[in-house]
Symmetry: C2
Subunit: 344 residues, 2 copies
């Protein structure tokens, strides 16, 4: 167990390092207001803290730098919930005051603002629409070979897909088909659409439409994609370039390639427990993120967790500020989305 004084020193070291990105020495520490004892004492304490694994030296005679364990302890126990500046607060509130009613735009904008407020990279996932219900399906013929299928969900999500019509398909039958589909499918959750088409609607279509098999297969396939449409949005992808730990182009490259590799990002963004999660350095299980921390927050519609918003920064990150901001975004997003979309 750490003594009060060790905690104080650990905290001050981390705060200082987060701020200046330079190893912290005993002498400079002793000059801080909150430190009332001498540099020699600090050296002794630091030696202990190092032995316990909370701080490290970059070389034998250097100042100390927080270790991952140190950051972890800091995040878990030492974080003072920082209150945000008025300006920042207002900026965030202003997004949610704007009349953006399209879920995706809202989320996208959140990522952008979040990256601007933090100077790190922000990533947003979602919102998941799997529980959304079909509101309308429409098939618009473009010419003899092509039609475009459009579906609208009850949350206002629109997706469209081009369909190549089977040869010699009668365009006039498209309308009939759309009517049948709407009759039968409006109100059905998107995830069940494909099933429902095959189980119930296909036979019905067969009674009215020639070539119904080909086209309903096409349609079912197109619709199928809709349910997995969680999207990733980025803000400040290149913000990391201004962090001193990324003055090396090779590091930048490997970092950017992780960020841009969507499958990995999906994995990292999904399956987070409700609330805020902090992953520090190697906790991310990704060598390119060794010097990064990744903080995620979930947001919901009602009680349904529908997405995640996250910040990726150097391990030397302003945890307190980022966590406060994420918390705010998470709550505001949840509140707004819930208000708008819960009871349709």
């Amino acid at each position: 167990m750490l003594t009060e004084r060790q905690l104080l020193i650990l905290q001050v070291i981390i705060d200082d390092f987060i701020r200046f990105a330079q190893p912290v020495g005993s002498r400079s520490l002793s000059k801080k207001d909150e430190i009332t004892f001498s540099s020699a004492t600090i050296r002794n304490e630091m030696a202990d803290l190092e032995e316990l694994g909370f701080i490290e030296k970059t070389h034998t005679s250097s100042g100390r730098v927080p270790s991952e364990k140190g950051y972890r302890y800091y995040v878990d126990h030492l974080l003072s919930p920082q209150t945000l500046k008025k300006d920042d607060l207002q900026l965030v509130k202003s997004i949610f005051a704007e009349r953006i009613y399209e879920l995706e735009k809202l989320v996208q904008k959140s990522a952008k603002i979040l990256s601007e407020l933090t100077n790190y990279t922000a990533i947003a996932l979602g919102p998941k629409v799997k529980d959304n219900k079909l509101r309308k399906i429409q098939i618009v013929p473009l010419n003899n070979e092509t039609a475009i299928a459009i579906i609208v969900t009850d949350t206002g999500y629109v997706q469209n897909k081009m369909i190549q019509l089977p040869p010699s398909f009668d365009i006039n039958e498209l309308e009939k088909m759309a009517n049948i589909l709407n009759d039968r499918l409006v109100g059905v959750p998107l995830t069940d659409l494909k099933d429902k088409i095959y189980k119930e609607v296909v036979t019905l279509l067969g009674q009215h439409i020639r070539n119904y098999d080909v086209i309903s297969a096409l349609l079912a396939e197109s619709l199928n994609n809709v349910s997995k449409n969680e999207k990733l949005f980025y803000g400040g992808k290149t913000n990391m370039l201004s962090q001193p730990e990324f003055h090396d182009v090779d590091k930048v490259r490997s970092l950017l390639s992780v960020i841009e590799h969507e499958p990995d990002m999906y994995k990292m963004m999904r399956q987070n427990p409700a609330g805020i999660t902090v992953k520090i350095g190697r906790e991310n299980n990704n060598s390119a993120l060794e010097n990064c921390s990744f903080i995620t927050a979930t947001y919901s519609i009602g009680k349904d967790q529908v997405g995640t918003i996250a910040v990726l920064g150097p391990t030397r990150m302003e945890y307190s500020r980022v966590i406060s901001l994420l918390d705010m975004f998470s709550h505001d997003l949840t509140a707004l989305l819930t208000r708008l979309y819960q009871n349709n």
Copy 2:
């Protein structure tokens, strides 16, 4: 006027520098197969070429490096139209063989492949849909306050926009309204839509629908955006990181910030004459692009120039290869788009 021998030397210098990114000296030049004269002779010729401004030294006793004027001459007069490797050719052809019928996806994919083939950054603009005609307009109510307007063009382009309904608006009237709009507006070019709504349709709506003024204003505004929907697509945004001229993070940052500043990119991508245009270094009028060349190619539907596809690389770029590739993309895109969309 340059002598044959000077041209040869200039060409070999540039080819070598493009390949190895190192100043080229007289001795190493003299070892090349195509060079039959001594290094001393080369030195004399190089002195002349330098005086004429085609090559430069990086310091008093260094080898020579092409100047902008040198590149310009090279591009204008020395470029041997390189034939592409079979693999590359096949890769390109394969995109256009795939059954992608959505314009934007096609263009997007082109940018991606182009960046992969060149290892530079590829940018695509378009396709412009201003001449597209309205195929269908649909208004789907979501609840009492919100509806979603969807328009489809004859090229299969779909755009949607949320509309906040005026309070106490009767949802049933939306359908009436959509019918009127479809009656009157199908076949109208998108650019004329707004005008047409105000001039012809508003009065008609007034006869049938309460609150017609608010909602038609809303609608006209939404539709208005559609006409300027040329989009930018990127491929290989971070490819420049692997170019030796961008080993410095500051340069990377300023370059990326130019690339990501869409208004500037729009300007650079628009208003290019038909065919291929090469801008070298400062010809780009942008200090962050001083060490870059920017090659654009236009593509069309029929005779209508509808977009641009471009490559941004270091001035030390494989001009020949890039130009060949762009030429190919430009032609294939034009051919495919023309086939698909000209006569609808």
